[in-house]
Each structure stands twice: as structure tokens, then as C-alpha cells.
Amino acid sequence: MAMFTLQINGKEYRADVAADTPVLWVLRDHLGLVGTKFGCGIAQCGACTILFEGNAVRSCVLPISAVKTSKITTIEGLSENGDHPLQIAWDEVDVPQCGYCQAGQIMTAAALLKRTPKPTVEEIDNAMHGNICRCGAYHRIREAVLSAAKKI
């Protein structure tokens, strides 16, 4: 065990965990940030996506020892009042069905829009392809990303 200091959502957190502990489990088990979801544990479904220095990263395979001073953003910290353009679009388009994968979808989309503020449908599909939505809400996810991009 070792003490790690993390910069998450603009705040400083400390966690006393083993160096190989994935950030996903640090967030969920140790810091009470449960918005980031566990889906597969092998970086195949995208439910655990966070922003790592602005890039979409699978937190289930990111060991805490690799974080160092890098800035992490989770769904809880994407906006102050749940009003990031993507969050607004997700509600307006009424995307969620079961809702479990949506935090990961939104974080992946957030990284995309940061990189590519006006993405084409093809760019959206490429960026979102790693995120599984078992309910099959893909049409609305795509529509919400397009809608948010218009407002940014």
C-alpha cells in the first residue's frame, strides 16, 4: 500500500491503495465517486471512461501509479451544475434507457468535442465506437453529440 495524491475534478484526493489498483476502483471504492462505471474490466466497453489530461481513457486498466500529477475529470466533475453542453443535449435528446453506460459515453464525447468541436457523423462514430450501449441507444447518442457540437 502507498499513499497517492490525485487531482480529480479540480480537487485533491488522497488514497492509500496498492500501486496497481486501477483508477476505476480507486474512484468507486475509495473516493465514493461512483459515476464512473464498471462494465468489463478489460477496456472493451467504455463504461469506465474518464478524462485523463483531457483524453478519454479507460479507468479500469489505468493503474493509479501511472497517474502522478495528471488531471482527471470524471462525470461528476464534467460541469458544475450538470450543464455541460453534452449533458444538456443528453437530456434534451432523451438519450438514456437503462443509463448505465451513459457516463462513459458522455466522457468519450467530451474528449471528442474538445479535440474536434465540429465533428462529422463519421468522426462521431469512430470516436464512440469503443463505447457499448447494450440498450442500443446509439442513434440518440449520435444525435446528442451533434446537437451539443452545434451549441459549443
Binding site: 476502483w25 464498471f38 478489460i42 462525470i75 450538470g82 438514456p96
Partner: protein
């Protein structure tokens, strides 16, 4: 509750009802059994308890919409709260079979209408006018003559003292304002800001976590366990063995995952150890078995086939598939001397409680069940194995525990959609009329793999439907649209084959069969001919059936969980491969409650049906699932979805469900379109494994 002074509270069933007026109307409660629980606070906030587990079917939004409609509530003041299990208050607290809406439609409307009646009566009393002079709108009672207006919150206290009438008038559908509109999911805000609302997010001070190693091969049991190394690892509290489970109990998920790898377990044979190749051989022998159970027999099949001008015969096969809800199985259990607390995602809280009571040998009223939001279900959470094992573990370790399944546990843990094979035979007369029809369904732990009273039964004079199953240690269970999720694909593909053999247009062929059933139905049928005919015609019209150049179209229709859905799939050839471009669906589920939610259900079901027909399979080698996680198990992703156009029949018939109905027809529509485009009939799922797609497999 609403926090500020609860004034009017209906407890429609319970002996604990807080309003004597409701209590004394025992006949009213019993007769109407209104399945709701609502309260109105002084500030006008309306709280509606949602009894059924929410797993993405959007029941938490559609149920309150129905209540709010009849109540003439201001939707912005409606708060929805998931009710815990309470079989005294709620009658049918489960999610399955697309049954919630048809079950509760009248009950919910009556609940809302009764509350509105009482509020209007209270206002009329206050104003000393006739209730008939009052109207209700958007959370207010109005008196046009005097211009008086009072909010529901101001009237709630007085309303609660008025006797509940035995009957209340319900709105005419032309006056619906909320029903039929698009209302957003009431939990959107929580979902998009990452609030901990799912079972896996549940936390209780003092609880421990656990993962369970179950046998990796079906048909085996534990021979020996060596957990000494695991027990010594950091964060591990205990390793306990019960039944065929080895539970690693610890303080954090990651420490448990690591310790789990250090547990050494030996297994021994405890039943048949089966592989997919065994099942393939079994299907052949079951198709020729003389043990099949006759499900339906009309006329004289033997003679019909003997005299046939043409016989069409075909077989279709589908593999096992896991449910794969994105939230893996999990449950919290706290078994104490004074009672048991269960918290988590379940489609069937009442059965879970009954099973837990039986296991622990305690009365059911000692057990509470709190229902969290479910990260998908698809039928998996109709089984309560994962609830009962959490309770058993808590009773052994005497601690509150949350049991977590990994994705591998989830995919390897059983309760699959059963693997099946069908053999269809059709006898055609000289004019191409289908005068004989035979279907045999064989499968693994599937019980009756047919739906013998479904179309085309009733439209064929001579018909024989039978089934036989193999009992296997591989566990199976309901999977979104049980049985019909594969039967519909096979049947609708076969009917396409018959239409081709008869030289008839597939749409016309189905309409002719329906006409035959209408004129002279053979035996009992469960489907409504007019409703089926309407969705067929509408789907043909909306999709431009037979009029599109360069596009190959496939047709499919199914009577599914009391709703009717017809689909047309458009396929175009791209670089020599068929590409599914578009699926047009016409659904008749009667009254559409929530337009947005209905579109979600239909589009999601089509994506689900297409995705699993295309990619889904779980294979076995010596009892062990060959696909263990999303690395090997392919689920459909964004790039692979076709365009979807969803239409609804506006007929005002009492609503039926939509969680399942749009899934069954999809595989058939796709396969039929691909046949049209390529001349190749896809008779096995997943399609991606068929020779047609061999070179397209890589790179997903």
C-alpha cells in the same frame, strides 16, 4: 416523501392506508386494485411511487404520466420515487413480459382520476358550488363562473377528508395532454451527472465486498479448495465455501480480484459435460425423436404433405447467448437476527424475497427489498440466484455484504437464452397455397420452443407443431422476448422461403394467409387478424415496398407480447457484401403513452435484435463458455447500426407493452433482405459466422 406536510395520500391497497376514507372503501380497493401510490404536498408537489423495477424500459416515466394525465397535474411538479417491494400496496411488482402497462393502464388512470375528483370536490365545497361547474387543469381546480382558482396543494388537506367514490369518469382520449406526448426520462439528470443510483453503486457504512468463484464448467462441482494464500493477502477478510461457491470477502474490489486468482479450486464431474459440438449432434437426433410433445394439431398433415404439389423444408439454428446487461449482477444483503435487508437491481423482487425466506427459513415479512435502478436486465435479472447467494453469504459471515460479479462471472454464470434448432415444412398445392405446415422445435433447456397459437396457425388447414428438449446442466432463462427472439427470425425467414417457392410476393403471401384465417380460421388463434394486417400494410407502404431501385428489401411481421410489429429491412450491396442500411418498423401497441420512450424501445429493440442476430453467440467446450468478456463476445456498436424509422398505429386501443415486441421481427427482416440481395439464405445465427461474411469478420 415530499418533505413538507403530506396532505393527501392514497394507499390504494394497504391496510396501513393513512386516509380513513380510502380505508373504509374496502370494496373499492379490492375491485379496482389501483396500482399506485401518490401524495400531494402543500406546495403542490405530487409524488408518485413507481412500483416496477426500472431497467431502461422507461416505466418510471410512463406510469406517472398516466396518473398525471387523469389527475390533470402539472408535470413539472411531479416527482417520481422508486417504491420498495411492497406486495400489499402493489400487485405486480416485476419487470418482464412487456406486461406492466397492460396490467396497470386502467388502475393508474383510475388512481389519477380519483385524486382529481376529490380535489375538485374539495374546491367545490370551499366555493360552495356544484362540482360539475368546476374544471381541473395543470394542477389547479378552476371555477369559470366566479373566476376562482385553487392549486392542488391548497386543496389536498380537504380532499383527503372526502369519501372516495366507487367509480370515477376517465378522460376521453381526445383530451389527453400528457399521454401521447414526448416526456423525458425522469432520471435523466441523475444519470448524466453520475449519481449513484444503480445497485453496484450502493454503499452502506460497515459493509464488506465479495466476489464468488463459481464452477467454470457446467456439470462440475467443487472437489477441494485451498484458500490459504488468498486469505493472507491484503484487504481480505475471509474466504468461505458454500454450495458450489467460493466467496472471497474483502474490503475493496481490486484486492478481492487479486486474491481471487490465488484461490486454488479443484472441480469434479457432477453431470453431463457438454460442448457445442455435442449440442449440434443432439439437435439432429432430437429432430428425429419420437418423444416430441405435440403442441398443436389441425387437420390431417400426413395427407396434405402426401398430396402436395410442392414441399418446402428448411432448418434454422440459434446459439446460446448471454444477456450481458452493462451493469453486471450484484446485490447487497444484510442478514441480521432481527431481519434481512436486501438492496439491488432485480426484475423480480417478490420472488427474490420468497427464495431468500425459504433459504434462511424465516418469514417473508422479516425481509425488506429495496429496488435500485437496473443497469439493464434483458431477462437476466428475472432470475434471483445472485440475490439468494448474497443473502446466504451474509448469513454465513454475519456481515452486511455487497456481492459483485465481474463481467466474466456474468457471461460465464449461466441463465442463457437457450440454443435451439427448428425444422419447418410447408406443403403447397398447385396454386401455391400453403395447405400444410409442420414445425418441430428442439432445444436445450427450453421447454416449449414454439408458440403454437401464433401466426401462421389459424391460416393453414393441416398443421402440426411439436417440440422436444434436452435437459442440460447449462442453465437457461428468459432473454428479452423469450423464445420468440429466435423463433420469429426462423419462422419469418421460412415463410419468405415458402413465398418464393410459391412464386408470391412475401407481403402478399402473408396477407393472403391472414385473409384465409379471417374467412375460416382453423382452430383457436391468439392474434388479432385486423391489427396484424394493418401493420403489414403500413410497413409495406412506409418502406416503399418493392418500389426502390438498387435496394433489396426483406419483410417480417410478428405478434409479440400482445403488440404487433412489422419491419422492412433495406439492404444494398457494397463491395460484394450486403450492407443493412435501413429498417422501417410499424408497431401497434395500442395507445402510445410516451412518444420519446416508445421510439427508444422500438429503436433499441431493433438494434438489439439485429446486433444479436448478426454477432451473438456463446459456445461451449467441455462445459466451459468459450466467450468470457467483450474481447471475444461481440456486441453491436455505433458504426454498425442501420438507419431506423419507427412508426406507430394510432388506434386508441388500450396499450400493450413495448419492451420486447420490436425485437423478434428484426432478424427475419434482415435475413430476408440479405436473401433478396444475394440469393443466400442465412439459416444460422450469428450471421457473421456464415460463409457470406467470412472475410468481413476481422477488425471490429
Amino acid at each position: 416523501m415530499t418533505g413538507g406536510g403530506l396532505l393527501l395520500r392514497f394507499s390504494w391497497f394497504s391496510a396501513e392506508a393513512e386516509i380513513p376514507a380510502v380505508m373504509t372503501k374496502a370494496n373499492f380497493i379490492g375491485e379496482l386494485g389501483i396500482n399506485s401510490y401518490l401524495s400531494i404536498a402543500t406546495d403542490g408537489t405530487i409524488t408518485i411511487f413507481s412500483p416496477n423495477p426500472e431497467l431502461g424500459q422507461n416505466i418510471m416515466t410512463s406510469f406517472p404520466m398516466i396518473v398525471a394525465e387523469e389527475l390533470d397535474a402539472d408535470w413539472t411538479k411531479v416527482k417520481v420515487v422508486q417504491a420498495p417491494l411492497d406486495t400489499q400496496k402493489f400487485e405486480r411488482q416485476l419487470t418482464g413480459g412487456s406486461g406492466a402497462i397492460p396490467h396497470s393502464w386502467k388502475r393508474l388512470r383510475t388512481a389519477g382520476a380519483t385524486a382529481r375528483y376529490l380535489l375538485m370536490a374539495a374546491a367545490a365545497n370551499r366555493w360552495k358550488v356544484e362540482p360539475s361547474e368546476c374544471t381541473a387543469s395543470n394542477g389547479f381546480v378552476l371555477h369559470a363562473k366566479s373566476g376562482n382558482k385553487l392549486g392542488y396543494g391548497e386543496l389536498a388537506d380537504e380532499a383527503s377528508k372526502i369519501a372516495v367514490p366507487a367509480e370515477v369518469p376517465l378522460k376521453s382520449r381526445k383530451d389527453f395532454k400528457i399521454i401521447g406526448s414526448s416526456v423525458r426520462n425522469v432520471e435523466n439528470k441523475k444519470i448524466i451527472t453520475g449519481k449513484g443510483i444503480f445497485g453496484l453503486d450502493f454503499y452502506r457504512e460497515g459493509m464488506v465486498l465479495a466476489m464468488i468463484q463459481r464452477p467454470t464448467a457446467f456439470g462440475t462441482k467443487i472437489k477441494s479448495v485451498d484458500a490459504s494464500a488468498a486469505k493472507a493477502m491484503p484487504g481480505i477478510i475471509d474466504v468461505v465455501t458454500f454450495k458450489n461457491n467460493v466467496a472471497i470477502v474483502g474490503k475493496s474490489t481490486w484486492e478481492i480480484m487479486k486474491a481471487r486468482k490465488a484461490v486454488k479450486i479443484e472441480y469434479e464431474k457432477d453431470g453431463n459435460i457438454e460442448s457445442t459440438s455435442d449440442h449440434d449432434r443432439l439437435f439432429v437426433s432430437l429432430l428425429n425423436s419420437d418423444q416430441a410433445k405435440v403442441r398443436r394439431k389441425d387437420g390431417d398433415v400426413e395427407t396434405a404433405f402426401k398430396n402436395a404439389a410442392k414441399i418446402v423444408k428448411s432448418e434454422y439454428q440459434c446459439p446460446f447467448i448471454p444477456h450481458n446487461p452493462m451493469e453486471p449482477m450484484n446485490f447487497f444483503a444484510d442478514v441480521r437476527a432481527d431481519g434481512v435487508e436486501l438492496v439491488g437491481p432485480t426484475q423480480t423482487p417478490a420472488s427474490a424475497r420468497t427464495a431468500t425466506a425459504k433459504l434462511l427459513n424465516i418469514p417473508e415479512d422479516k425481509i425488506t427489498v429495496t429496488i435500485t435502478r437496473l443497469g439493464g436486465g434483458f431477462g437476466r435479472r428475472l432470475k434471483f440466484d445472485y440475490v439468494v447467494e448474497a443473502a446466504e453469504l451474509s448469513s454465513i459471515i454475519k456481515k452486511p455484504v455487497k456481492v459483485i460479479w465481474s463481467r466474466e462471472d456474468d457471461m460465464m454464470g449461466g441463465s442463457y437464452r437457450p440454443a435451439v434448432r427448428y425444422r419447418f415444412e410447408a406443403a403447397l398445392d398447385e396454386k401455391g397455397n400453403m395447405v400444410g405446415y409442420k414445425l418441430r422445435g428442439v432445444g436445450i433447456n427450453v421447454n416449449n420452443s414454439t408458440r403454437e397459437d401464433n401466426f401462421p396457425s389459424g391460416a393453414v388447414e393441416n398443421l402440426l407443431i411439436d417440440s422436444v428438449e434436452h435437459i442440460s446442466p447449462i442453465t437457461t432463462g428468459p432473454w428479452r422476448a423469450p423464445v420468440t427472439n429466435f423463433l420469429a427470425y426462423a419462422e419469418q425467414s421460412f415463410l419468405d422461403e415458402v413465398a418464393v417457392a410459391a412464386g408470391k410476393d412475401p407481403v402478399q403471401f402473408r396477407l393472403e394467409l391472414l385473409q384465409k384465417a379471417r374467412m375460416n380460421s382453423v382452430g383457436a388463434i391468439k392474434y388479432n387478424i385486423d391489427r396484424m394486417e394493418t401493420v403489414i400494410k403500413q410497413a409495406a407502404e412506409k418502406s416503399g415496398w418493392g418500389t426502390k431501385k438498387g435496394v433489396s428489401q426483406g419483410f417480417s411481421v410478428y405478434f409479440s407480447h400482445a403488440s404487433y410489429v412489422a419491419q422492412v429491412c433495406d439492404v444494398v450491396m457494397i463491395s460484394g457484401k450486403p450492407a443493412v442500411k435501413k429498417i422501417v418498423a410499424v408497431s401497434d401497441c395500442g395507445e402510445v403513452i410516451n412518444k420519446s420512450g416508445a421510439l427508444q424501445q422500438v429503436m433499441g429493440a431493433i438494434v438489439d435484435g439485429y446486433g444479436h442476430a448478426m454477432y451473438g453467440k456463446l459456445t461451449f467446450k467441455d462445459g466451459v463458455p468459450g466467450e468470457k468478456n467483450f474481447g471475444e463476445y461481440r456486441l453491436i456498436r455505433m458504426k454498425e447500426i442501420p438507419e431506423i424509422e419507427a412508426h406507430f398505429i394510432d388506434n386508441g386501443i388500450d396499450p400493450t407493452g413495448l419492451g420486447e415486441p420490436a425485437l423478434p421481427p428484426t432478424g427475419g427482416a434482415v435475413a430476408n433482405a440479405i436473401f433478396k440481395a444475394t440469393g443466400i439464405r442465412l439459416k444460422n445465427q450469428p450471421f457473421i459466422d456464415q460463409p457470406l461474411y467470412n472475410s468481413a469478420k476481422k477488425g471490429f
